[in-house]
């Protein structure tokens, strides 16, 4: 990052020196952003740069890893939210956030009294005290400001009484009262301006978003009055309570905001660092040269701070006391769709442990903004969300011009209004980004005027104008983080987008931005949608309609958009598919073979789905698919297909169905040491003990690309010096004896032939030679590998059967896999059936069929009737069922079989990576029990519950065998006299008790080594475990 820096110089004569292009730090750049070199490159240019044109960008590359800063969901700042707390008290809360301070003010209605909770006060403060402290000493004025409705007065009465009880009548008294309630810090520095404490809190912390200039408290008072009015409304009418989960009350924080927050903090620390270092320098009496501040700029603070934050995901902003973890994640590169899906992920504001259902439930206001399908299962269900296809998240827009525009459009300034006038009937309050701007007498007129200006492009396209009839408010928002989406504008139910517009779009004369500029399309945020009547299709529009949806399928996100006919499926199935689509193997990017991922799953022959959707085309899934079109017969076969298992055709597997490549990266570093010595890589031995294991090595001591690598093969013949600390005068001249072998061996599944794909020589951050090996392993599907269709129907391969045993039709069609029909009734995935039909029709007529969500009326999805007609035209049954012969007997099957192509995904879970069994094997040093876990070739644990079963059953010998003989048997010498463990003296060939110093009463027995260990540990803690032996 380059910036211009001002430096002042010299002692007596102060000159202002300017330095241009001073680097104060470097900032990671988001890929494909405006600053990125890849921005606005066309496909050919990207290809030349070795980049994939379909890559979505939006992530950062930090320390060699791709990191996304996830979108953070938050409750909107500076807005009044009326809610109920856990005890059922009515609450109005405002989370204020300004440049200087963040604070939360809560108004609570407890036993009819309204109080204010603020962190700086030790207990809730009666509201009237606050009002008085702000200079409104007359109760009548408060009542007037809230509104003249007698019911409000009644509700406020207890609060007024409470204030009287506290003997607070004047501003002075109120401030004194508050002073007693201010939280004392242990070492009070407040005594300096004791009188000011309460006032400054009221001024700066209480509702910090309402700025107070020169103790001019009136705007804040009116703001409080509005809050009180809304609370009282909520008391009288339950509907007035706000919904916290309403998307309009939420803001999404994007990476830009996150980084700017962090940058600001780091920049300030850098400034203070500079100050500190210059102070230190100035303190020194003897300075040789003149002070030049620019020399003392620590550019590392910003660079490292940002780098660390992005690579660890820990956001620590000192100023706002923000400590957030897990803000960034490594970009998922499991499949292309996983990557794209990862960019649209929204992380929740709450911790996941909350058991409340509210925030997890599907919100009607999510419509079109957040995908209703794409959410994980389990603990984060409903909390982690994803953006829909056309969602746009706003960024901050300048406020000043908008405010002055509002005033010129007839908003009456707050300053000029009395309390009485504030809530005059027929006038609406105008709220701008949470601030009260004033009021307007003709709200609709004002709103339409603003909207016209927006459509004309005079004000920003993301400014939202929302008239709330219930609250008698007009909300204008230009703040960042609101979600909005484009809609076609309709005048009196007639869409503004005409056919000639669409033609121009197709030809390429017009772009989306032209539509926006010409006022045919506009962005609406969640709040403004409430003022619109949106027709799903142009034909359904009525005269009141204000907008028409662009396409209904855009309410789904990227992951859900892959599902054909999702609107025919049971909804959880779509959710399951959203999770599974991310595990499907396929292509990652066009440059996938040039990448050096630590683990990469690729499909050998990925296909484009026969049944596509518009989303697939928009996203590019048709170019980087993750699956294959398999001919599926829905029937039961062999019994190896129960419980969702799949029967597969061996010939299909031979021909490449479901075949995948797994590449793993192995890294070796040629380390340099402090004493100038370094590792060395030497020529492999061609004869001798290790020759066989070194077969794949080239003469340079590294495994050669193209060689088949087997377990225990050496892939780098490295040696490291024995002496790494003491300095050596001639590091190069070390004898061979000064080195010890540091070979690295390949550990992989036995009997598999992996291949060294590539060897790359690079250097790491300490300038060591770093050698990376890419090991490629091609796998064909085997028993137990996991597959899934695009409808949340996963299953493992149950058996693989020869083609001649497979059923066949008289056309010679033989399915690739057989799926059990029991998968359908309970799952209700009708979409899968339609996919089969559509795929079959597509295959026979040679046209890709479409199955976009809700696409039938607009022609983005083929209707079943049409598909059936196509089938009949090509000689199939309209129902997609075929007459099938058994491959074993050759006689026809009794039923017609539903058969056709379905797009199947191979999921990353493969048996080869999971299977594990052992008889005897490695043991843990400490306890001498078998190791744990597959990676260590561990044993399978017979746990407590299993042990309980065996006890209950009375299988004592089995318990003995499992728990001791097969685990950690150990022979000990026990002294019958003292009951402690002795040892066996091999010289005397007798057991000796070290406590009794003799071997008179020694017995030999077996016990688990862990038990012996326990005894010894107890002894070390001064507890004597004595064994009392009885004759057996």
């Amino acid at each position: 990052m380059v910036s211009i820096e001002y430096t002042k110089g010299s002692h007596g004569d102060i000159t202002v020196a300017t330095k241009k292009d001073v680097i104060i730090g470097r900032l990671p750049i988001m890929l494909r952003s405006r600053c990125c070199v890849l921005n606005l490159r066309d496909e050919a240019e990207l290809a030349r740069l070795g980049e994939c044109p379909l890559d979505p960008g939006g992530y950062f590359v930090v320390k060699g890893t791709e990191k996304v800063i996830l979108i953070q969901e938050q409750l909107s700042k500076n807005r009044i939210i009326i809610d109920k707390d856990s005890k059922g008290h009515l609450i109005a809360s405002v989370t204020s956030s300004t440049d200087a301070i963040k604070s939360k003010t809560v108004f609570i209605l407890d036993k009819e009294k309204i109080r204010v909770v603020l962190n700086q006060f030790i207990k809730p403060i009666p509201i009237m005290v606050i009002m008085k402290a702000m200079g409104i000493e007359s109760d009548q004025e408060v009542v007037q400001m809230i509104g003249r409705d007698p019911r409000y007065g009644v509700l406020l009465l207890p609060s007024i009484q409470e204030c009287v009880e506290e003997n607070v009548y004047t501003q002075q008294q109120a401030l004194e009262y508050l002073e007693t309630k201010v939280k004392r810090f242990s070492f009070s520095y407040g005594s300096v301006e004791k009188e000011g404490r309460a006032l400054s809190i009221i001024r700066d912390v209480f509702l910090a978003n309402v700025l107070v200039r020169d103790l001019h408290f009136r705007p804040k008072c009116i703001y409080v009055a509005v809050i009180l009015r809304r609370m009282m409304e909520a008391v009288l009418n339950k509907d007035a309570i706000d919904d916290k989960d309403y998307v309009g009350n939420k803001r999404l924080e994007l990476s830009g905001q996150m980084i700017s927050l962090l940058f600001e903090d780091l920049f300030k620390t850098m400034n203070s660092e500079v100050k500190k270092s210059t102070d230190n320098l100035l303190e020194k009496s003897s300075r040789s040269s003149k002070l030049d501040i620019s020399q003392h700029l620590a550019r590392d603070i910003i660079t490292h701070g940002l780098e660390r934050a992005i690579s660890t995901g820990n956001w620590d902003v000192k100023r706002f006391k923000m400590h957030r973890k897990g803000m960034t994640q490594v970009v998922l590169r499991l499949s292309f769709i996983a990557t794209v899906g990862h960019m649209t992920r929204i992380l929740p504001q709450f911790e996941k442990s909350r058991k409340v259902s509210g925030p997890r439930a599907l919100q009607p206001s999510q419509w079109g903004m957040l995908c209703p399908c794409d959410t994980p299962e389990g603990e984060a269900c409903g909390l982690v969300k994803n953006l829909s296809l056309m969602t746009h998240v706003t960024t901050d827009d300048e406020e000043g011009p908008l405010i002055s525009l509002c005033h010129s459009l007839g908003v009456e300034d707050l300053e000029l209004l009395s309390g009485e006038e504030l809530h005059a009937p027929n006038s609406f309050l105008v709220m701008f980004n949470g601030l009260i701007l004033g009021k307007h007498r003709k709200p609709q007129h004002f709103a339409t005027a603003l909207r016209k200006l927006r459509r004309a492009g005079i004000i920003g396209e993301f400014v939202s104008v929302f008239v709330n009839e219930k609250q008698k408010c007009i909300y204008i928002a230009s703040d960042g983080g609101r979600v909005c989406r484009p809609l076609v504008i309709a005048d009196k139910g007639i869409s503004r987008v005409k056919e000639h517009h669409m033609k121009e779009l197709k030809v390429g004369i017009r772009t989306f931005n032209d539509f926006l500029r010409d006022g045919l399309i506009e962005y609406l945020d969640v709040n403004e949608q409430n003022n619109a009547l949106i027709a799903l299709y142009e034909g359904e529009a009525v005269p009141e309609t204000t907008h028409v949806e662009i396409e209904p399928f855009t309410i789904l996100g990227v992951c859900a958009g892959l599902i054909p006919f999702p609107h025919h499926n049971q909804s959880p199935r779509n959710t399951y598919q959203c999770a599974m689509g991310k595990q499907a193997m396929g292509n990652i990017a066009y440059n996938q073979l040039c990448r050096m991922d630590s683990l990469l799953y690729l499909l050998v022959y990925p296909q484009r789905p026969l049944l596509t959707t518009r989303t697939i085309e928009l996203v590019g899934y048709d170019k980087l698919g993750a699956g294959q079109n398999a001919t599926v017969a829905v029937m039961s076969y062999s019994g190896y297909d129960i419980e969702d298992a799949i029967v597969m055709n061996k010939s299909s597997l031979d021909r490449g169905f479901g075949r995948c490549i797994v590449t793993k990266k192995l890294t070796a570093i040629n380390q340099k040491y402090a004493n100038n010595t370094m590792d060395r890589i030497i020529r492999p031995q061609r004869v001798g003990r290790d020759a066989e294991r070194m077969q794949i090595l080239d003469d340079d001591g590294l495994a050669a690309p193209g060689e088949i690598i087997r377990p225990y093969d050496i892939y780098i013949n490295k040696q490291s010096p024995i002496n790494k600390e003491i300095s050596v005068h001639s590091p190069a001249g070390l004898p061979d004896s000064a080195y010890k072998s540091a070979i690295q061996t390949y550990k992989g599944p036995r009997g598999e032939t992996a291949v060294v794909d590539r060897v790359a020589l690079t250097s790491d951050k300490d300038n060591n030679l770093c050698i990376k090996f890419l090991i490629r392993h091609t796998r064909r599907p085997e028993l137990g590998d996991k597959f899934s269709s695009r409808h949340g129907q996963k299953g493992v391969c149950g058996t693989i059967i020869q083609q001649e045993d497979f059923p066949f039709s008289e056309r010679g069609i033989c399915p690739d896999l057989i799926m059990n029909p029991h998968g359908f009734p309970s799952r209700m995935t009708i979409g899968k059936m339609i996919e089969l039909l559509g795929g079959k029709a597509g295959v026979s007529c040679g046209r890709f069929h479409y199955g976009s969500a809700f696409g039938e009326p607009s022609g983005h999805a083929d209707r079943v009737e049409v598909i059936s007609e196509t089938l009949v035209k090509h000689g199939f049954s309209y129902s997609g069922k075929d007459f099938i012969y058994s491959g074993i007997t050759g006689s026809p099957l009794q039923a017609y079989i539903f058969m056709g192509p379905i797009y199947y995904q191979k999921l990353k879970h493969m048996v080869l990576d999971k299977m594990h069994a052992r008889a005897s094997g490695p043991r843990v040093m400490l306890t001498r029990q078998p190791t744990e876990g597959r990676s260590r070739d561990g044993g399978l644990r017979l746990g407590e519950m299993e042990r309980d079963c065996l006890i209950a059953y009375g299988a004592s010998m089995l318990i003995y065998e499992r728990l001791m003989v097969s685990s950690d048997p150990f022979e000990v010498q026990v002294c019958r006299a003292c009951g402690l463990l002795g040892y066996y003296n091999y010289k005397l060939k007798a057991g000796i008790c070290s406590t009794c110093k003799n071997g008179d009463n020694i017995s030999t027995m077996k016990l688990p080594y862990a038990c012996k260990l326990l005894f010894q540990e107890l002894q070390s803690m001064n507890i004597v475990p004595r064994l009392k032996l009885a004759e057996a």
Binding site: V604, G656, P705, D757, T778, Q802, Q803, E804, G875, G890
Partner: protein, 401 residues
């Protein structure tokens, strides 16, 4: 056994259509077990030659990564998987690679040159050097050895229209009824307005017409049965063997299998010492297991028609053999004499070597020891596209084995 009426049948074969890679024939007067056995053998047990081991050697000027993962080097099997079974080992593989590299400009390929499947595309200046070893094998082992692209049969439908009832229908109704069939089985005679069966084989046993008739209130309007003794076979070859040869080879293989069965039957007397087990084995069990092993589903249907199986095993086997032999002979008799069986196979320039290898296959067909003979045909295929060169120079030094 004496007193048993001979149900011996003599299957007939009639070839309808024959092309190099396509054959349609009728198999009559036999049953599903027979037809299915033939089908199964054609798919999985007719041996061919296919490239089994591929070893690609150093690639010049780092011909990108394509050399490794996708193409030949990606372990032997996937390399051959996309080129299912090339019996003319050297030649076809050579052509395939050649076509692979020439893919963008087909100008070099002469007319009649059969393009193979693309294995790898090469860029200008890249070359690929690989050693491919072809082996003889069967489809059971790997689909690349399967010579059959499509082998399927159907029962010949037997369609009886109840003419009286049909006449009671109006022309409109008749038309509707005909329309109800997804395939064009029936039509209306334009002169007589009678419903006629145009193409019984187009019928896919979908029951649509029967359902339609019932819906029209005329059950029994048409009766359709599958003739359980007559089959119509469709055989498509992958190009490894000519389709007609495929059928003939399949019958040969089947015959050998049956010989093996007979052999075990002969030696069975020696197995007396097995006592009860032996008796049990003889009693149908043996045949069942053997037949099962062979992939013949013939036991069931025969049991039904024949009764006591233990005594007539031999007899039946003989009958099957004779049936087979008959089939074979009749098949040969009925081959259209106009069809050319010699090998003017237009696989382009590699005619000779190609012919040679195929001959090899035939030679080896006779002795089917379980082991596969390895044909060490090692063509050195060097494909290089030099700078400024648009056409390929292919250089195949195929040393004949």
């Amino acid at each position: 056994m004496d007193g048993v009426v001979s149900y011996q049948r003599f299957p007939k074969i009639k070839i309808r259509e024959v092309k190099d890679d396509y054959l349609k024939f009728e198999l009559r007067e036999t049953d599903a077990s027979m037809a299915n056995a033939l089908r199964r053998v054609m798919i999985s047990e007719v041996p061919t030659i296919a490239i089994d081991l591929v070893r690609s050697r150093s690639t010049h000027r780092s011909s990108t990564t394509s050399s490794s993962p996708t193409a030949s080097a990606s372990s032997p099997s996937p390399a051959t998987a996309p080129c299912p079974c090339d019996s003319p080992a050297t030649a076809t593989h050579a052509t395939e690679t050649a076509s692979a590299s020439t893919a963008p400009s087909s100008s070099s390929s002469p007319s009649g040159f059969v393009r193979g499947i693309i294995i790898v595309k090469l860029r200008r200046g890249q070359e690929l050097r690989l050693r491919a070893i072809a082996r003889k094998g069967i489809g059971k082992d790997h689909a690349k050895w399967s010579p059959a692209a499509t082998v399927t049969f159907m029962y010949e439908p037997d369609i009886h229209i109840n003419e009286d009832m049909m006449e009671s229908l109006s022309l409109e109704d008749k038309r509707n009824w005909i329309e109800s069939s997804p395939t064009k089985v029936f039509d209306i005679d334009p002169s007589t307005h009678q419903v006629v069966v145009v193409d019984p084989e187009a019928y896919t046993y979908d029951d649509e017409v029967i359902k339609k008739a019932e819906a029209m209130g005329k059950p029994g309007l048409v009766e359709i049965y599958a003739k359980e003794t007559d089959f119509i076979f469709t055989v498509e070859s992958t190009g490894a063997i000519k389709s007609s040869q495929l059928v003939l080879n399949a019958i040969q293989v089947l015959k050998q299998k049956l010989d093996a069965v007979r052999l075990t039957e002969d030696t069975e007397e020696a197995d007396e010492q097995f006592g009860e087990l032996g008796a049990h084995m003889r009693g149908g069990g043996a045949l069942a297991t053997i037949a099962d092993d062979l992939g013949l589903g013939l036991v069931e249907s025969n049991t039904a028609s024949q009764g006591n199986i233990s005594s007539s095993t031999n007899q039946k086997l003989d009958r099957i053999i004779s049936m087979m032999e008959h089939l074979l002979s009749s098949g040969e008799v009925q081959v259209n004499p106009a069809m050319d069986f010699s090998y003017p196979h237009n696989y382009g320039r590699y005619k000779d070597s190609h012919y040679y290898n195929v001959k090899g296959v035939e030679d080896h067909l006779i002795d089917t020891s379980e082991e596969c003979e390895v044909f060490q045909i090692e063509p050195e295929i060097v494909i290089a596209l030099n700078e400024g060169e648009d056409e390929m120079k292919i250089d195949v030094n195929s040393d004949k084995p």
